[in-house]
Subunit: 113 residues, 2 copies
Amino acid sequence: MRRDIFQAISDPTRRGIITLIAMQAMTPNAIAENFNTTRQAVSKHLRILTECEIVKQEQQGREIFYSLEIEKMKEIDKWLTQFREIWETRFNQLDKVLSTMSADRQAIKEQKK
Amino acid sequence: MRRDIFQAISDPTRRGIITLIAMQAMTPNAIAENFNTTRQAVSKHLRILTECEIVKQEQQGREIFYSLEIEKMKEIDKWLTQFREIWETRFNQLDKVLSTMSADRQAIKEQKK
DNA sequence: TAATTATGAAACCAATCAGTTGCAAATATA
DNA sequence: TATATTTGCAACTGATTGGTTTCATAATTA
């Protein structure tokens, strides 16, 4: 049962939970109200998210408030870096192509004169 | 069997394939050599990645070259935006706290004089 | 033409998954 | 103290997953 953040975010309900508690801590009951599923199912998702350390708990009496461990989200961002480099390079290359085209057109214009 | 990109990247082998073909197109056989699994299993992964439009094929004779559809990766980046906003805000807040602390220390210093 | 190579697809399997129902423990309230 | 509320956990279920083996098809090469 070795879980990682990529498996954690693969489920749409879990992504929903992550988004929901990103701004404010919430109890399992309150979270479950937002989804078309049972409280127990949400509880299981929370366990998975806790195991992955995407979520942290804070007990207050008999209630437990769950909130997002935002730092963990950076791991996805980190993995994306390699691809971001590629699409930025392509963009720069396109930029280069466009300016070259522009220069060429200018040259043609000059030639016509 | 409705698949999305988050499910596609949840499997470590698929993430490996994505990284592998990010820079250059490769055939299924060549890809499979890089993983401790059969060619057929890789073929199945490629089918999933193709269904999600993360990967594109180009037939050359009896060989098929698979390459990354980098634009699709931006969808993950887009989803991350909401969290990036949070961690950047927190960073700015920390920045504010630090400068306030600095000002306080300065005030204490001044008081001591 | 016959053999080889590259590939996808089908059938099957064990493991895992997301969900449900039922229950126990702890806390709060009447 | 008795009852209600909040929660996690265990047992079960049907669906899905990632993998293997086997086979069919198409293109290349001897």
